[in-house]
Symmetry: C2
Subunit: 192 residues, 2 copies
């Protein structure tokens, strides 16, 4: 239990067995069936979720009610509505499961106590968010400066596992496109 979580943690900073045991006390396992919600827009986000197994997505609804996916999370990724989690404001995103999934939850109070009691937890958190920031900045850069063909091509080389496991229209949504448009981009790419 929590194997992947601690494997990832130790990749960022090595923990002693004692620290690991202490941290374990603050973790809650949770299973989610495909299509179940972890978070719905309007609720307050009560936890950060680490994906041990499965796949989730985070999305908002535009004014026409279309789903706009802003993040996927496969094994080893962390997902949450950070703004809602940290401020206690109501969430602006939905999070649901794309496959049956196993999560490790960290509640707000657990998060706060861990920050106080385990210095390495703060470091872990800092490194994790820094990595997420850098990745998102790259995504943003490619959105404002690359062609759709390039964006899709780098997506499939960067996230081949997502391409395998997630329906194409969701990848279109992630790219801010209509499914038909992504289909045509794929044709253009393959006919070269």
């Amino acid at each position: 239990m929590y194997e992947l979580f601690f494997r990832e943690f130790n990749k960022k900073i090595a923990l002693t067995p004692e620290e690991q045991d202490l941290i374990k006390k603050y973790l809650t396992p949770k299973k989610l069936r495909k299509k179940q919600y972890l978070l719905q827009e309007g609720d307050v986000c009560k936890f950060v979720a680490f994906v041990e197994k499965g796949a989730l997505r985070q999305y908002s609804l535009d004014e026409s009610g279309n789903e706009r996916i802003i993040q996927f999370a496969l094994e080893g990724w962390t997902i949450s509505d950070l703004y809602s989690f940290l401020t206690g404001e109501t969430a602006t995103y939905h999070i649901d499961a794309l496959e049956d999934s196993e999560l490790v939850l960290i509640s707000k109070s657990a998060h706060e106590e861990l920050l106080q009691k385990v210095a390495k937890y703060e470091t872990y958190t800092r490194l994790k968010i820094t990595g997420a920031y850098i990745a998102m900045q790259k995504r943003l850069t490619s959105i404002i400066s690359s062609s759709l063909e390039e964006r899709y091509s780098s997506f499939i080389t960067l996230y081949p596992d997502i391409v395998q496991r997630v329906p194409q229209h969701m990848i279109a949504s992630y790219m801010g496109l209509q499914p038909e448009t992504l289909s045509r981009i794929r044709r253009r790419i393959s006919s070269r």
Copy 2:
């Protein structure tokens, strides 16, 4: 000297005078004239820069050589090519000054020593990057789910100071648009 820097720092976590003096030893002031580079693509980014006064921009060049602005930084903001700074890889962004500016620089070695010696510096860093992450996620969400009119309208309410101080074609670049397109969007908005 460093007034704004410490004002912002203390907003996130309060420092004792001693801590403040200690941190000061690791800071380097730097003045930059309008149009001067702080960082050029291909160099390694050697520092994180806090803006005491002035305005900067971070951008990359697309394949046609157009500037694509991914971030502005006014007083109180921090700017850097984080990926290059942290990994030592060569930078993919340019950073230059839009106005004569005064910066506070933190070098790589200063950053690392501060993380070790001053626990609150790690907290400051974590909070700062978390805020930047949340802001960027909101920007990304609006890019993939809002109309251009909405995006520009929220930009001017969110960053009225940038609208005042930065030429319009740079705001277009920040939004991933041509200057002509932004000009037309403005006309559409004002004619309502």
